[in-house]
């Protein structure tokens, strides 16, 4: 690489451009969230900088013509939904991937059936779920029908992540444990799980994120109680105020926090072995 400065420059420029396109919408939103209030609108120029809209989110400003965002309940619902989906998908995905470590009859068909869950157009899945629920006479709820379509959607991702992890997993480590008299259950808990933990973390991150901002499937499958993406979309139909941008910034910060937790846990689990070894080498 060092011998090809032109190529290197090009690649750097390209990456920079990519990042600009990726993040500029978010940056614009973030800037606009500091618009003055309550009279400032959702567009440039910024009349003067303030955190009015952030305070407005938490009802810390005197009442004005702009109503507070009706997002509190939706936020809690989405969080609960994403957390449950994350756990269920990861458990299912890990178990399925575990089954795929040995070839069984029909494994090819099962593979495509599972993966189909993330391939079919979301709107159709949502619609199908709504029709089915009507037909069998089940209420459409965020914790029932929506939860189901979210799991169907995220489970293939978890499965694929875990499949990749198991593909590189050395089976003889488990066999070594068995041969020492460790039961298969204990072997999974004490040997296999710690070793596949990075994959489990990634699977959890995937499932959480995908569920947290799922829109098309949720749109039809949900009943009266909305999830966060639906509720945000609902506010557009009234009138957009910078308080929505402030909310966006806060949820983005929340995502960053999640990523930070993920990265920390990952680093800990991956580096632990190396660090301990190195420390002792030095000592």
């Amino acid at each position: 690489m060092e011998r090809q400065p032109i190529l290197r420059g090009l690649l750097t420029g390209w990456t920079a451009l990519f990042l600009v396109f990726l993040y500029s919408p978010m940056v614009v939103l973030a800037i606009l969230s500091f618009q003055s209030g309550p009279e400032g609108g959702p567009q440039f120029p910024i009349e003067h900088w303030s955190i009015y809209w952030y305070r407005q989110l938490f009802n810390l400003v005197p009442a004005s013509s702009v109503a507070p965002l009706p997002l509190g309940g939706a936020l809690l619902r989405s969080l609960a939904l994403a957390l449950t989906t994350m756990v269920v998908s990861t458990v299912l995905g890990t178990m399925t991937a575990q089954a795929f470590r040995r070839h069984f009859r029909g494994s090819g068909v099962v593979f495509y059936l599972v993966v189909l869950g993330m391939m079919v157009p979301g709107v159709l899945v949502g619609l199908g779920m709504a029709l089915t629920a009507n037909y069998v006479g089940i209420d459409r709820t965020w914790w029932g029908t929506v939860f189901l379509v979210h799991v169907v959607y995220t489970y293939p991702f978890s499965f694929l992540v875990m499949l990749a992890i198991f593909n590189r997993f050395d089976r003889s480590v488990e066999e070594a444990a068995w041969s020492l008299g460790v039961s298969p259950v204990t072997t999974f808990r004490r040997i296999t799980f710690p070793l596949i933990f990075p994959g489990v973390l990634s699977s959890m991150l995937f499932a959480f994120t995908l569920s947290y901002d799922e829109f098309p499937r949720t749109l039809f499958a949900s009943g009266g109680d909305l999830t966060l993406p639906l509720a945000i979309y609902g506010t557009f139909s009234v009138e957009i105020h910078p308080n929505l941008f402030a909310f966006g910034v806060l949820t983005t910060l929340f995502s960053f926090a999640l990523l930070a937790v993920y990265a920390t846990l990952m680093t800990l689990s991956v580096r632990r072995a190396r660090r301990v070894a190195v420390q002792e080498e030095i000592a």
Binding site: H103, D170, S172, V173, E175, A176, A177, W178, S179, L180, G181, V182, S183, P184, T186, T187, I191, P194, L195, R272, A273, R274, V276, A277, V278, E280, E281
Partner: protein
Amino acid sequence: MIADLELIGLRKTYPNGATAVQDVALTVEQGEFVSLVGPSGCGKTTTLRMIAGFESITAGDVFIRGQRINDMPPEKRPTSTIFQNFALFPHMSVARNIEYGLAARGVKPAERAERSRRIMEKLDLLDIADRREAGLSGGQRQRVALARGLVVEPQILLLDEPLGALDANLRRSIQNELKLLQRTLGITFIFVTHAQSEALVLSDRIVVMNRGRIEQVSRPVDLYTRPQTPFVARFIGRNTLVGGKLTDASGSIETPYGPMRGVVANALLRRGDAAQIVLPSEALEPHRDGADHDRLVAQYDGNVLSARVLAVEVVAHTRLIRAALADGREILLEGHTGQGSAEGLAPGNPLLIGLRPEEATIVAAEQQQGKK
């Protein structure tokens, strides 16, 4: 006495239809050191894995101490395995790796610590007891794997090429340690190895496998001096094989290079059978042509071959001669430099080869083997 391990008609056919092991029958006594040797892919690992319980048994039976264990899961079997690739638990320290099996078997912490300390001491692992796999050299990993398998003192220890990654010196010292441990603990060892010299040094008996079947089971010395099949003769030692027809079941054979007699013939052979004579390189002595032919014939009981020298190689006191028989067939002679009368032999020189007949063996011809 009940055998420690008994394999009866063992067969393994993998799901893809490949039969990796068949008709394997073997009885191993308590405390025996048995090696499995054979070319790559001959079914050594598969056999070991069936004994350990990692691989299902297609046909046949495995008995340990008289108990049929075909359907017993690996963690219940009184065996422990040492893997070709170590298979250490990467997230545990060396000490924890070694203690883990004891903990699983319900050994009390104090005794656990004591037993693992003892084995770590023997295998020189105390200095690295707190490290993890990532911080170990290949040889250290191998020793940890050995310690981990040995510390639980299984009835039978199954070792799959456990010394493969060690350099020659370390290998020798671990070999000695291993043999000593095996003796003192009285554990039965089933030891898979590629290195036949290792098997010859360590084993009480050696099992030679070929294409999923057992070719021969013998004490090392017998395997070396009395191969029972052409395959074994080629696989072990440096032998030249010459085809012929048995003229006397007690040990005479007619070969293209002349008759040979006084040789030990495989008991199953009958007069007139197609056979091969195995000529160990050490049983052949070189003589200058022009030496007193009649005296040589008398000395070797008539077993004298004419040849031409191809190459002479002297390393310290050992001399290796490659020679060509009448029809160009290559033959190898190996011995002390003082042996015979061959000083100053150079490539191209004619050579008379004397065979000490009691060291040669007659085995069945290869075609006959193939048909079976």
